[in-house]
Structure formats: structure tokens, C-alpha cells
């Protein structure tokens, strides 16, 4: 009886309203904490962009910055050779990523099924995705540069970045294809189409948007990669451009090169403060390119989602 009375007393004294209030307050507090943490990250991004813009402003607005070669004098140095190099290297990287990545994705999703080979390839690709990028650089140095004798060239750099993009491209290709319902395939088969006809007439056209999105995202990450290109010997002082591909294609592939992030790294590592301004300007250019590519990918994804609603 005594226990019961005690419980009743405690129940009467229990401040239910106050308890609920304190729980609600904690809940609210955590939500605010979450908002602050998320804002902090976005603020960090904003701070980076602003810092680069302020530090590099007088170089960013100078048109000569984009049309001059690197130089010993910070005011005369520009990013001509590095942005041209970036364009060539990225075209190579995208080529290899498309040639190797998209077929691999199609194989895994359409043909591989749950077979053993497909499972091994799948596990292997997820492993490759987690290999540090500098290790790809060592692969390129040991194999492409010295054993295949491609040299420290545009070809080597494109191949290296292409391999780096591979896992992302494969995964996004698979996801794009997976979104297409089985009924489409069965309808094609029922009309007598072979597998490749189904693939080229239906699967690929419907998944193209998704595949492209993945490709652009992968490229936007590869474009800022610096480490693997340092090991393949991207030079930092290049006062000439690789030959234009329509004039001398092999010469272009074999040409030494530099790219924007390498040029930026070189300028950051110098002690003179004037070079840091150049670095900031180059970094801002990189940031803008990355933002543009991500926006295109975002827009494409949005369009695809609207166009195909199965």
C-alpha cells in the first residue's frame, strides 16, 4: 500500500507540462544546432570563394592574365599554357572515361546480373573508387611514363585522370540504366529485338541524360586533381602551347603540359606574396569552372527526372 501511495504522490507532483516543455526545448535546440552546422559548412564554401576573389581580384579582372604564359614576374605571369593544357588533358580524360567506363557500366547492369565475373568487377570498382588519387599518379609514373614510354605528356595525364574518373562514371551509368523499368526491355524483346537493338534503341537513349550527368560530375572532380599529375611530371613553367590537334595530333599527345591546379600549386608554394595573388586568381577560375559543370549536371538531372517518369 505504501508503495502505491508513494507512486501516487510522485505522479501528482510530476510536472508533465514542464517535462514536455524541456523535451521540446532540447528538440528545438538540436534543430538549431543542425542548422548552424549546415550553415557553417556552406559559410566555409562561401569564405573560400570570397577569399580567392578578394586576394586575386586585380588578376582576375586583368584580361592579360588569361593570355600570357607563366613568368618570373608575378604581374606578367598568366595562365594561358595551363588552361589550354587543362582543356587537352580533360578531353583525353573524358575520352578514356567514356570508352572504358560506360561499357563497363552497361555490362555490369545489363549483362552481368549476379554472375561471378560481374561480382568481382563490381567489388573491384568500389575498391578503385577508394584508392587515394596519388596512388594513381604512382601507377601512371611507373607504367605509362616509364614502362609504356608515353613520357610526361598530355596522353599520360589524360589516361591517368580517365582512370580516376572511371569508378564514378561506371556507378552513374549503372544507376541511370537501373532506373529504366523492365517492361521497356520486355516490350522490345517481345517485338523480336535482339539485345544490342534493345540497348541502342531504348536503353541508351533513355539513360543518356543520367550517364552524362555522372560524366560531368566526374570530370568536374578530375579537373581539380593535382596530385596524380605532379607525379607524372606536369611541368610548372611552360612557355609554349602543345601543337593544335588538327595540325599535329601525335605531337599534341606527346607534348609536355601543365594544368591549372598545378600552376596554382606552383604559385602557392612560392614565398613572394605577389605570386599568391596569381594563385588565388587561378583558384577562382577553377572554382568557377567546377561550379559551372556542377550546375549543368544539376540541370540535366532535373530535366531527366521530369522527362522520364516511369
Amino acid at each position: 500500500m505504501e508503495v502505491r501511495e508513494e507512486l501516487e504522490v510522485r505522479l501528482r507532483e510530476f510536472d508533465a507540462e514542464g517535462y514536455t516543455k524541456s523535451v521540446r526545448r532540447k528538440d528545438k535546440l538540436f534543430e538549431v544546432l543542425g542548422i548552424v552546422a549546415t550553415l557553417f559548412i556552406l559559410l566555409f564554401l562561401f569564405a573560400i570563394a570570397l577569399d580567392l576573389l578578394i586576394d586575386g581580384w586585380h588578376r582576375i579582372k586583368d584580361p592579360k592574365f588569361y593570355t600570357s604564359y607563366p613568368s618570373r614576374f608575378p604581374e606578367e605571369a598568366g595562365i594561358l599554357s595551363s588552361w589550354v593544357g587543362t582543356v587537352y588533358v580533360m578531353l583525353g580524360a573524358i575520352f578514356w572515361a567514356v570508352v572504358l567506363g560506360i561499357p563497363a557500366g552497361i555490362y555490369l547492369e545489363e549483362y552481368g546480373g549476379k554472375g561471378r565475373i560481374a561480382r568481382i568487377i563490381e567489388a573491384n570498382i568500389s575498391n578503385l573508387a577508394a584508392v587515394p588519387s596519388i596512388v594513381y599518379g604512382l601507377l601512371a609514373l611507373g607504367i605509362f611514363v616509364y614502362r609504356f614510354e608515353f613520357g610526361e605528356s598530355v596522353l599520360t595525364a589524360g589516361l591517368t585522370l580517365g582512370l580516376l574518373m572511371l569508378p564514378v562514371v561506371v556507378v552513374s551509368t549503372r544507376e541511370a540504366i537501373r532506373r529504366i523499368p523492365r517492361s521497356i526491355r520486355e516490350a522490345a524483346y517481345a517485338l523480336g529485338a535482339t539485345r544490342w537493338e534493345t540497348l541502342f534503341h531504348h536503353i541508351l537513349p533513355y539513360s543518356l541524360g543520367g550517364i552524362l550527368t555522372g560524366l560531368i560530375i566526374a570530370a568536374s572532380r578530375a579537373i581539380g586533381e593535382t596530385a596524380p599529375l605532379i607525379t607524372v611530371g606536369a611541368l610548372t613553367f611552360i612557355a609554349f602551347l602543345p601543337p593544335a590537334p588538327w595540325e599535329d595530333f601525335v605531337g599534341m599527345l606527346k607534348s609536355p603540359f601543365t594544368v591549372l591546379p598545378i600552376q596554382m600549386f606552383n604559385w602557392v608554394s612560392r614565398p613572394q606574396e605577389e605570386f599568391h595573388y596569381n594563385a588565388a586568381a587561378a583558384g577562382f577560375v577553377l572554382l568557377v569552372i567546377a561550379l559551372l559543370m556542377n550546375s549543368v549536371a544539376f540541370y540535366l538531372r532535373f530535366k531527366v527526372r521530369r522527362k522520364y517518369q516511369w
Binding site: 521540446r24 577569399d51 555490369l108 552481368g112 578503385l128 587515394p132 596512388v135 561506371v170 577553377l286
Partner: protein
């Protein structure tokens, strides 16, 4: 265009073989990585400059200095590992609490609209070039930290482990947070509803129902983040210095395994020289460490309870 059945079947088989071969390229890449790292690591340990095998292997694990590029060559790996682990731990101090808070907020609290607005920006953070983060660490975070520490009479070097550590922690956040969020998404809605119907608040549900249910996914996200921090190169190459030493002080310059590879690769490398081989030995260490971490992460994820 009408093709005969035979031609169609031939194209079908040819395409199948082509696609499979392209898929198999990734396996060749893996083999190539392992092969090139292994063969040059073996050559490193048998090189006369290191004392030849097995002396070099013993020196690798017992010496306390790392100077393969000097005239007096010491090849103890510990200073580099010390730098790498210190950076990685500092970055985890940042990304463990922030990662879980952001993931809980985005998956349990935020409205659909907020999530759809925030996520593209988090994705964009992943596309920011790492050398830009390095610039930011060296020329923005470090001066701020120096100002912060100087009233306490603490001197901080221009090159240090703390500021790149913090920056890497924030850099891997979008990745960690979205992986944790995915793990939360895998927790079925009815568990949350059961918790709410018993009168639990959102916070209580998140911390005591969703988080325990997703714990292996969360752990694997952190392990993958840790492995990324270990493999991160440009931020440390720019902002952490080039001074391999065994220290517990994050305010001093250090060097990581990746930083060493960059430093040596920037110079002229004669093929097969001791310096050339040393970066492959360092890279092999890096590869093994990240592979082990990733394998544990994948294993944990596969063990995640399916509802």
C-alpha cells in the same frame, strides 16, 4: 535496314564480349597498381643505398628519421606515419561530430525543400579542387589560428598540422555526412513511427532508435572518411610543411606520406634511383593502409542489419 538473323546474333555476341572486356579493364588497373607498387617496393628494399634486404626492412621499421633524399640516408617510416595519422585524427575530430549533426539534421529534421537546396551545395564542396583547400588552409586558416593562439603566448609555425587537419576535416564532411544520411535512409519508417507513437521526441528517436539501427553504416562512413583523410595530398603538400618528424604537437611543421611523394616527385627523378623507389615504398604503405580501412568499411556495411 534489315540484317539477317545470323548477323544480328554475331553483333550480339561481339557486343557482349566487348562490354565484358571493357568491364574487365578495371581489374587490369587494380593489378597494374598492385604490381607497380609491389615491384618497386621490392626494388627499394633490395637497393644497396638502403642496406639491402633484410637490413633495409629492419631499418624501415626501427629508424626514427626519414631522409632517403639526403646524403646520409635514413629510412624509418615512423615520422611520415606520425604526420599522416596526426592530420587524419585532427580531421576526424572535426568531421565526426559535425558529420553526425548534419546528417541527423538533414535526414530527420529538415524539410524536403531545405534538403533539396542544401544537397547540391554539399555536392559542389566535393568538386572544389583540393589545392584550393590547401591555399585556404595556408593563407586563411593558419593566420587566423596564429592570431588566436598568440595571446596565450603560444607560437604557431606558418606550416603546421592543425590547419590542414581542420580543413581536411571539413573537406571530407559532405562525403561523410551523405554516407551517414544514406545509412539513416535505410532505417525503415515504421521504427521511427513506433518511437513517435510511444511519445518520443524527434531527438530521442534520432539518437536512440535511428542511430543504433544504422550504426554499422555510420561506422563505415567514418572509416571511409578516415581513409580519405589519410590519402589526401594537396592540402598537406601546401600547408603542412616538409619536415618529417615524430611529434605530438600539431602546431609544428610535419610531413605526411602523401606530402613526401609530392615533394620528391616535384624534383627530377631518374628512373630506378633510390629516391624514385622510395616514393613507391611510401605509396605502397599508403595503399595498404587505405585498402585495409576500406575493406573493414565494406565489411561493416555488408553486416548492416537489413530490415
Amino acid at each position: 535496314m534489315t540484317l539477317s538473323l545470323g548477323v544480328k546474333k554475331f553483333i550480339d555476341t561481339a557486343l557482349y564480349v566487348f562490354l565484358m572486356l571493357m568491364g574487365a579493364v578495371s581489374i587490369f588497373v587494380t593489378f597494374a597498381i598492385v604490381w607497380v607498387l609491389l615491384i618497386d617496393t621490392i626494388r627499394f628494399f633490395t637497393h644497396p643505398d638502403g642496406g639491402g634486404f633484410p637490413t633495409s626492412l629492419i631499418r624501415f621499421f626501427t629508424e626514427t628519421q626519414w631522409t632517403p633524399t639526403f646524403y646520409d640516408k635514413q629510412i624509418g617510416i615512423w615520422p611520415l606515419l606520425n604526420g599522416t595519422l596526426m592530420i587524419a585524427f585532427i580531421s576526424m575530430l572535426v568531421s565526426i561530430p559535425l558529420g553526425i549533426i548534419i546528417a541527423i539534421y538533414l535526414s530527420e529534421y529538415a524539410s524536403w525543400k531545405v534538403r533539396e537546396t542544401v544537397k547540391p551545395w554539399l555536392d559542389f564542396l566535393e568538386a572544389v579542387p583540393t589545392v584550393v583547400y590547401g591555399y585556404f588552409a595556408l593563407l586563411f586558416i593558419t593566420p587566423i589560428l596564429q592570431k588566436f593562439f598568440s595571446p596565450f603566448g603560444i607560437y604557431m609555425e606558418g606550416m603546421n598540422a592543425l590547419s590542414p587537419g581542420i580543413v581536411i576535416g571539413i573537406m571530407i564532411l559532405p562525403f561523410t555526412a551523405s554516407m551517414i544520411e544514406d545509412a539513416f535512409k535505410g532505417v525503415p519508417q515504421y521504427l521511427r513511427e513506433a518511437s513517435y507513437s510511444l511519445g518520443a521526441s524527434k531527438l530521442r528517436t534520432a539518437l536512440f532508435v535511428v542511430l543504433p539501427a544504422a550504426k554499422s553504416g555510420v561506422l563505415s562512413a567514418y572509416l571511409l572518411g578516415f581513409s580519405r583523410a589519410i590519402g589526401e595530398t594537396m592540402v598537406v603538400a601546401v600547408a603542412a610543411g616538409m619536415y618529417p618528424q615524430i611529434t605530438a604537437n600539431p602546431l609544428e611543421p610535419i610531413q605526411t606520406v602523401t606530402g613526401y611523394i609530392v615533394q620528391v616527385a616535384l624534383g627530377d627523378l631518374p628512373f630506378g634511383s633510390f629516391e624514385y623507389l622510395s616514393i613507391f615504398a611510401a605509396g605502397f604503405m599508403l595503399f595498404v593502409i587505405t585498402l585495409v580501412l576500406n575493406s573493414i568499411a565494406v565489411y561493416l556495411k555488408s553486416k548492416a542489419v537489413g530490415y
